[in-house]
């Protein structure tokens, strides 16, 4: 039963990792951009949630009403103002620029919020739980997982059933020919980044409710996000959810064996999957 419990808790934790990873997956799928600043953007969203809920006295989940559109706007502006200029044949400029952005974000957050750990207080929700068949499930992890599935499902629907998603796929397939269809790729990329950071906003708020955070933790979230994306297969959204779940289960089962092995076992499972299936479980795009 304890092992079953570890697996179930791992699945729920995987929901959070899938939320970390969904934005990365979407951005890579549409424009082959690897965003090194993604983890810091998650942390930025958590801080925005902190400021909003403190200033307005809102429950952190309610602050999403503000944080999601603000992050989306930041995403659009960032893409059109900076990142679009880095995209081209060479893969190095976007890596370097987003790495620089990561440094800037971390230091700006440090300057504004100091290095003290912060936490979003969701009051009773943080500790509330219920029992199912002998397992005790926390309300917050279950809610996180449900939201992650809903977010991935919504992205999937946008991708495959709306004109916007058609534009994303067309630009991803062939930028020149997509321009011939009247699609301004700079704008389409801006919309993709806006959507990615909207999901990142949700990830940041759930991260902030679940654990304490400080300006330096972005890198770790980026690694978990990357691992989930790679395990799932590049560009596949459901694959990303599966990747998050596998990573979460690996960590909780590892921690069950020995508490010190939690993070390590996640990385080991990631490396094993990479060795056996270099393209991930459900690859959509090659290279």
């Amino acid at each position: 039963m304890e092992w079953l419990n570890a697996v179930v808790q791992g699945v729920l934790l995987g929901g959070l990792y899938a939320l970390f990873a969904a934005g990365l997956s979407l951005i890579f799928g549409v424009m082959r951009l690897v965003n090194i600043a993604h983890g810091d953007l998650i942390v930025l969203a958590a801080y925005l949630g902190l400021s909003t809920s403190m200033a307005l006295g809102l429950h952190p989940l309610l602050s999403l009403v503000l944080v999601v559109p603000v992050m989306a706007a930041i995403g659009y502006a960032l893409q059109r103002g900076v990142l679009n200029r880095t995209l081209g044949e060479d893969v190095l400029p976007p890596l370097l620029v987003t790495f620089g952005l990561s440094v800037i974000l971390q230091n700006a957050l440090l300057e504004i919020y100091t290095a003290d750990p912060q936490k979003l207080s969701a009051e009773v929700m943080e500790t509330a739980s219920f029992s199912v068949g002998g397992l005790t499930l926390g309300v917050l992890p279950v809610l996180t997982f449900v939201v992650a599935v809903a977010a991935i499902g919504a992205l999937q629907w946008i991708f495959y059933h709306t004109p916007l998603g058609r534009a994303f796929r067309a630009v991803s397939d062939n930028q020149d020919i997509a321009q011939l269809m009247g699609l301004n790729k700079a704008h389409v990329f801006g919309l993709a980044m806006a959507l990615a950071l909207a999901v990142t906003a949700v990830a940041g708020i759930f991260l902030g409710i679940r654990t304490s955070f400080d300006p330096s933790i972005g890198g770790g979230r980026l690694i978990f996000g990357f691992e989930a994306v790679i395990i799932g297969g590049l560009g596949s959204l459901w694959g990303t959810l599966a990747g998050g779940v596998i990573l979460g289960v690996a960590q909780t089962v590892g921690a069950k064996i020995d508490p010190g092995w939690q993070i390590l076992s996640g990385h080991i499972v990631f490396l094993l999957i990479l060795a056996v299936r270099p393209n991930g479980l459900l690859p959509k795009v090659s290279g």
Binding site: R166, A167, R169, A170, N174, M181
Partner: protein
């Protein structure tokens, strides 16, 4: 000669350090079917890509209905009513047949072409509408590429080597559809390797050679000798 829909004035175009077009002048009249022929590397595709905005030029070098468009982006040019059927079809592999057509229509210009009329022109596409575009035969893919361009309801449509790599019987099918396309007053430019085909469907012909116009003539009174001289640069 009727009012020109497109006027190209001393167009130079470059691929990096390589100059592909040298001071090229060309005029397309409203409603005509213009053929452009020439050997590989003569600059035909470069010319079409320049018109469509995939290669940026100086604004005044290309005028569309009097308006300078040489410096516009491809999406802006598309919005003005110029559509390109690119060489090698270049469908979107992630999109179904129907989605490829739908995305062609997203510029939102009014006109006769819709999913229904494209399916009327190429009935086989109606049966295949939900299939992946990559699962079609070459000829069917070419029909989708043409339909995708038509969905924009263009006033000027540019065909780049639409017979390339297709069986003769399929080429005949594709060209049989041409009157249904240009009959409605659409202006067309056809770049074609098959000179006989090009001359039979067009009213005027330009021949390019090494980035320059080597011949301009009415299609029905040009001799084989003139063409081979313009094509190969030998007399």
């Amino acid at each position: 000669m009727p009012e020109p829909i497109l006027q190209i004035d001393k167009l130079d175009a470059f691929h990096g350090d390589f100059q592909a077009l040298y001071g090229l002048d060309l005029t397309i009249a409203e409603g005509e079917v213009l053929a452009i022929i020439g050997a590989n590397g003569a600059g035909k595709t470069t010319l079409l890509r320049s018109i469509a905005g995939l290669m940026r030029n100086e604004a005044d070098q290309i005028r569309y209905r009097g308006r300078p468009i040489g410096a516009l982006r491809a999406d802006q040019v598309a919005g003005l009513g110029i559509a390109l059927v690119p060489e090698g079809r270049q469908l979107f592999p992630s999109l179904s047949v129907e989605e490829n057509l739908q995305i062609g229509g997203r510029v939102g210009r009014a006109g006769p072409w819709s999913l229904e009329t494209v399916f009327g022109l190429f009935p086989i596409l109606r049966e295949r509408r939900h299939q992946a575009s990559t699962s079609l035969s070459g000829g069917q893919q070419q029909m989708v590429a043409i339909g995708r361009a038509l969905m924009a309801n263009p006033d000027l449509i540019l065909f780049d080597e639409i017979s390339l790599g297709l069986a003769p019987i399929i080429i005949k099918d594709i060209y049989d559809a041409l009157p249904g396309i240009v009959g409605g007053g659409v202006t067309a430019v056809i770049v074609e390797q098959d000179i006989t085909k090009a001359l039979s469907v067009s009213s005027r012909v330009y021949c390019l050679q090494e980035g320059r116009v080597s011949l301009e003539s009415a299609s029905d009174n040009v001799s084989r000798e003139e063409i081979s001289r313009a094509y190969f640069g030998i007399s």
